[in-house]
Symmetry: C2
Subunit: 152 residues, 2 copies
DNA sequence: TTGAATTAGTGGCATATGCCACTAATTGTG
DNA sequence: CACAATTAGTGGCATATGCCACTAATTCAA
C-alpha cells in the first residue's frame, strides 16, 4: 500500500470538488486526447453545437464561466478553425458563435471518444451514482450564496 | 425568469464537475479574498500545514495534482514569503515544504474566512448533502479507471 | 435628441494545471 | 565499483479561468 497520507476525507467542499475535478478531468482528457481536443474543448464545442448560434454571453452564462475566460478559451478553437464568430446583426455588441464544418467533424470525432469515457466512468462508478452525482453538481451550480440584503 | 437555456441537466460528468467547481470556486474565492489568498492557495497552505514538512511529491499525490503544476502553484506563495522549501538531507532529490511564520499567520487569517464560506455553503446546501457530496467526490478521486491489463 | 447609464466583448495580467524534455540524485546490478 | 534504470523536481509551453480597465453599441431619461 502507498503512503497516501489520509485515506481521503477532505473537509473542504471546494477542495474536494477541485481534487475530483483534476482526477476526472485527466481521465476524460486522456480518453478524448486522440481527437487532439481537451475534454473542456470538446465540451465547449458541444455547447456551441447544441445552441442556436449562441451569443458569447449566453454560453458563458450556461457554463457559469467568466465572459472573458470564455473568450480566451475560444481562441485556440478559432485559431484551429473549429469555431467562428460573427456580430449579431440586430445588436452589434453581441458576438455569436458557431462551429465551422471542420469543427462539426472534429466534434463528431471527439464525441465518439467522449462516449467511451462517459461509459467507462459509469461502469466504474455506477450508473445511479453518476446520475446522482450530476444532479448534486447541478444543484450546487444552481445555488444562491448571496446573503439576503436585509430585505429593504 | 432568465433564459438559462436548459434548467441544468448536464449529461457529462466531467462538464458538470467543472461547472460546479467554477461556481463553488468563485464563492470560496470571494469569501477568502480579504486575506489576499485564492481559495486554492488557502487549501494548499493548509495541506502543507497539516503535513510534517511534506515532500512536494507527497503533496502532489494527496491533492491528485501534477508535480510540476504543484511547483508552479507554489511559486507565488514562495515569492510572497508564505512558504519555503529545503532539500531533504537524507535524499537530496526530495524537496520538502513548510510554512514560514508569516505563512502561518496568513493561513490563520485565511482559515477564519474559509470557515465562513464553509459554514455558509453548508447552510445553503444542507449539512448532510454537503457531507454526502464530499464523500462522493472523494470516491471519485479514489476510483481506478485503468482497464485491467488482461491479468497476465 | 443628446448625454448618462448599461451591456457585451476585448486585452492584459495573474493564478491553476498538465505535458514533455532535461538534470540531479539514488538505487540496483553485474 | 561503474553503469543502467528509476525517482524527484524544474523550466518551458499551452490551455483554463478570473479580474480589471477600456471600447463600442444600445438603451434610457431629461
Amino acid at each position: 500500500m502507498s503512503k497516501d497520507s489520509l485515506p481521503g476525507l477532505t473537509l473542504c467542499n471546494n477542495a474536494a470538488l477541485r481534487r475530483a475535478a483534476r482526477k476526472l478531468g485527466k481521465f476524460y482528457d486522456d480518453v478524448v486526447e486522440p481527437s487532439g481536443l481537451k475534454a473542456t474543448q470538446q465540451g465547449l464545442l458541444y455547447q456551441i453545437h447544441i445552441g442556436d448560434e449562441p451569443a458569447m454571453g449566453a454560453i458563458a452564462t450556461s457554463l457559469i464561466m467568466d465572459l472573458s475566460a470564455l473568450g480566451h478559451t475560444l481562441k485556440p478553437l478559432i485559431r484551429d478553425g473549429y469555431v467562428e464568430t460573427f456580430a449579431d446583426p440586430d445588436d452589434r455588441r453581441v458576438k455569436r458563435v458557431r462551429l465551422t464544418p471542420q469543427g462539426l467533424v472534429k466534434l463528431d470525432e471527439a464525441m465518439k471518444l467522449w462516449h467511451i469515457a462517459q461509459q467507462r466512468f459509469e461502469d466504474v462508478a455506477g450508473k445511479d451514482k453518476a446520475e446522482r452525482l450530476r444532479a448534486a453538481l447541478d444543484e450546487i451550480a444552481a445555488l444562491d450564496f448571496d446573503l439576503p440584503p436585509a430585505t429593504p
